[in-house]
């Protein structure tokens, strides 16, 4: 039986197809957008409401071993936020590290339908897929970590970029990963030896390779493999005063490889790497400088990593930074070294309005969003849960759309921070089409998901309907609480052609697909590689290569994205 839905008279925002608030009908058949529907179609009256493609979150830590360690570390996080079982939903808990089912439900309630887990240690990717498979409704994928991988560093030290590309292609295929994630390139490995990397040109202990070479090497690999998403980089020096220079240097290090206007490097949670100043006392915002660079150079895209004041749990593969945070706060800490590949750390954290540093961080995120002119290259995230839980996205949207909302929060933050931020002088207010761009169209394009983030014929029928009347925008900007409510509770969320949420309530919870990339290199090159890494697996790993790989049948609904490798 075909499933048909007609969403009638909504005000549609589809930036990809240059539809900016036009009153029109959207038709769905068998999970795809179509041009018309029969009279038997389920009719949804969206008059006076906004219709957008389903939200796409490019960077949200929702699954994997570190997320689960965070859950175990923080029982107090769950006690304050309990979801009771209903006829259509499982029970679960929040708050900053929600259980898998709750994660799926809460994203769907906000109108999000696609979410990517941005850091999975390759060795533990099986666990990541198991958790992604038990996260309902949303489509998902994961980015394996390569920035501190011994094999990658050895290949790049020896200048073997093609071999490195073959290895990365095999890893992505074997792990069912989607893109190359680089976290603190070389820095995590060096910290294992009790040292810190401060510059892009410092050598990694025992590997004789620099962060710059790792970033450039993996950027070339990305191009050789024609991967849909550019390298996803968490830069060195994260969380240190003055680190905005490292961020700009990281962007600039691959500038010569740019090919046209398409971004070739994605700098993630750029708020955490946008500090100016030389110490915590004179810490300032490096957002204007970063925004200026991004405005002038088309090869870069960024996501915000906006912080939300309140309690959260920080978790990252950047072990050194988490160690620093643990020493700073005296909070409990999980640290993990993943053999051959990476490390990670987890520390609970509370962002306070009255704290100077936290207030500056809050300002940096918003300044970046407001100063970067091209909404196609800045995506909204909170680096869930590092900046704050994803459930606070509506609040971030309200800050971006309403100057009044920003002023209200500004009036409550640390006074010295308020004086030093550029934010109070920024008048820009995001429009609905810009919000549609930074929350769905642009992330989908950056991820290379051709059928997501737009309403073109044949696109996936992932749709969000919000109770916002575009003609009332001036009123809503003066009442940001209404905006928050509207974006926090979608009137309808349609996933793959099925209505999954109505008026903020889950109606059904089908499971979404898991995207992964297969960039096929020449078979003879791959077999040579396998012969060489089999020995190395025996030397370096405590698991066999056979157990390392994840079969497609292991995933609930795998969705392969093919790309042609140039090698």
């Amino acid at each position: 039986m075909s499933r048909e839905i007609a969403i009638l008279n909504g005000t549609v925002f589809d930036p990809t197809n240059r539809i900016f608030g036009e009153r029109m009908d959207i038709f769905v058949k068998d999970g795809k957008i179509v041009g018309s529907a029969s009279s038997k179609a389920q009719r949804i009256d969206a008059s006076g409401k906004v219709v957008m493609p389903g939200g796409v979150d490019i960077h949200s830590h929702i699954a994997g071993s570190k997320v689960n360690s965070g859950r175990l570390l923080r029982p107090e996080d769950h006690r304050k936020d309990v979801e009771v079982k209903t006829p259509t939903t499982h029970s679960g808990v929040g708050y900053s590290i929600p259980s898998t089912y709750t994660t799926g439900y809460r994203y769907a309630k906000m109108g999000y339908t696609t979410v990517f887990e941005p850091a999975t240690p390759p060795l533990k990717t099986r666990h990541t897929h198991e958790e992604l498979d038990s996260t309902p409704i949303i489509d998902k994928g994961c980015f394996p970590l390569f920035g501190n991988n011994w094999f990658v560093m050895e290949y790049l030290r020896d200048g073997k970029v093609e071999e490195c590309a073959t290895y990365v292609a095999w890893m992505l295929k074997a792990l069912k990963g989607y893109a190359i994630k680089i976290v603190d390139p070389g820095g995590v490995e060096v910290w294992g030896w009790g040292k810190f990397l401060r510059h892009l040109d410092e050598k990694v202990t025992h590997f004789n390779v620099t962060p710059r070479e790792i970033i450039r090497g993996l950027c070339k690999v990305n191009r050789l493999l024609n991967l849909p998403h550019p390298i996803h980089v968490h830069t060195n020096n994260l969380g240190n005063p003055g680190n905005y220079t490292t961020t700009i240097e990281t962007m600039d290090t691959v500038r010569d490889m740019a090919n046209g206007s398409k971004p070739i490097v994605h700098i993630t949670h750029v708020q955490f790497t946008g500090f100016s100043g030389s110490s915590w006392l004179n810490l300032g915002s490096g957002a204007p400088e970063i925004a200026e660079y991004v405005n002038k150079h088309g090869h870069v895209s960024v996501d915000l990593g906006q912080i939300i004041f309140g309690d959260t749990t920080t978790m990252t593969a950047d072990g050194p930074f988490q160690y620093f945070l643990h020493m700073l706060t005296d909070n409990k800490w999980v640290n993990m070294d993943v053999e051959v590949e990476t490390g990670s750390g987890i520390v609970p954290f509370q962002y306070k309005r009255s704290n100077y540093v936290n207030a500056i961080q809050w300002g940096i995120g918003l300044e970046l969003a407001l100063l970067i002119k091209d909404p196609w290259r800045v995506f909204m995230t909170t680096d869930h849960p590092n900046g704050g839980p994803f459930t606070y996205y509506p609040r971030v949207i309200a800050w971006l759309m309403s100057r009044k909302a920003r002023e209200r929060t500004l009036s409550k933050i640390n006074r010295t921070a308020r004086r030093r931020l550029t934010l109070p002088s920024i008048d820009r207010e995001y429009t609905l089409e810009e919000i549609a761009t930074i929350t769905r169209a642009a992330p989908a394009r950056s991820l290379g998901l051709k059928n997501k983030g737009h309403f073109g014929l044949g696109a996936d029928a992932d749709i969000a309907v919000y109770d916002i009347n575009p003609s009332d925008m001036d009123v809503l900007r003066r009442k940001p609480a209404k905006l928050r409510r509207a974006f926090g509770q979608a009137c309808y969320t349609i996933k793959n052609g099925a209505v999954v949420v109505r008026d903020g309530k889950i109606l059904k919870s089908p499971f979404g697909r898991t995207f992964y990339v297969e960039s096929q290199t020449k078979p003879e090159i791959e077999s040579n590689l396998l012969r060489s890494i089999e020995t190395r697996f025996r030397d370096y790993y405590t698991v066999g290569i056979e157990n390392y790989q994840i079969n497609e049948s292991y995933l609930r609904y795998p969705a392969k994205v093919r790309c042609e490798a140039e090698i």
């Binding site: 570390l73 923080r74 029982p75 107090e76 996080d77 006690r79 079982k85």
Partner: protein
């Protein structure tokens, strides 16, 4: 003071969540209204009147409210949750989490209380005629702030981790105590009149633990300070003499352990340090 009396109608086998039962929630409410309150019994929602026979009335004034619960409440959880005034008397066993996060008022349990008695308590008084389970006045799992005020009196024994992460207040246990009393303690006073199973004050940074009974051994991370003839617990003088230890040095702590000399001849070795 008229009492609101809740008498258990039947045996309860599943966990019963009774956080609704506190003077703050019930004062000034009519019995009919109280009977309509819904609570969880295992995975089912039930009305309070299906569990209890409800008699009498709750006073309108919070401080004058007296709630009497009759029956075996050992399956119940969170009686007196966050209460700030009035009195709850349980004529039977009290269950788990009795007086969790309580801020004022008084709870009297005639029987035993389960684990987490007065967890995260900030004020008020709890008296238990029988014994209490583990984690008396402790911090909820994952948090680092247990009891911050008030008084807990246990006339029987208490389990392990009594007063863990305690910051202020008083715990008095007339019987014996399990392992780790005052673990991670930051302030306040614990007085255990009976014996203690061991590891008293592990990771403590402040506060005072007075042990009148036997303690097998003192943790090596404590420093012997002195012998005192008596010490003060709340407003009372407790006669000694006591060996006084400070620690836990692993945490750079400045807590005090008072261990009664007469009950602990095995600690006589430390007296030689006084002769120097």
């Amino acid at each position: 003071m008229s009492a609101l009396e809740l008498t258990l109608r039947r045996t309860v086998m599943a966990p019963l969540y009774l956080d609704i039962i506190s003077p703050d929630n019930l004062s000034g409410k009519r019995w009919r209204e109280i009977g309509d309150y819904i609570v969880w019994e295992g995975n089912r929602k039930v009305k309070l009147r299906s569990l209890f026979k409800i008699e009498g009335e709750a006073e309108a004034n919070l401080q004058d409210t007296l709630i009497e619960i009759v029956g075996d409440m050992s399956r119940a959880r969170r009686i007196g949750y966050r209460m700030s005034g009035g009195v709850i008397r349980v004529r039977g066993h009290g269950g788990l989490y009795v007086g969790e996060s309580m801020r004022g008022g008084r709870i009297i349990v005639d029987g035993d209380a389960g684990p987490w008695l007065g967890a995260n308590m900030a004020g008020g008084t709890i008296e238990v005629s029988g014994s209490a389970g583990d984690h008396v006045a402790a911090a909820s799992l994952g948090t680092d702030k247990g009891m911050t005020g008030g008084t807990i009196i246990v006339k029987g024994d208490s389990g392990s981790q009594t007063g863990a992460w305690m910051h202020s207040g008083l715990i008095r246990v007339s019987g014996s105590s399990g392992m780790f009393p005052g673990a991670h303690m930051r302030g306040g006073t614990i007085h255990i009149i009976g014996d203690c199973s061991g590891r008293a004050g592990a990771n403590m940074r402040g506060g005072k633990i007075v042990l009148s009974g036997k303690l097998p051994t003192v943790l090596p991370s404590f420093t012997f300070e002195d012998i005192r003839s008596q010490t003060r617990v709340d407003k009372d003088n407790v006669e000694g003499p006591f060996y006084v230890f400070s620690g836990d040095n692993n945490e750079g702590g400045d807590g005090r352990l008072f261990i009664k000399k007469a009950s602990n001849p095995q600690l006589k070795w430390c007296e030689k340090f006084l002769e120097v």
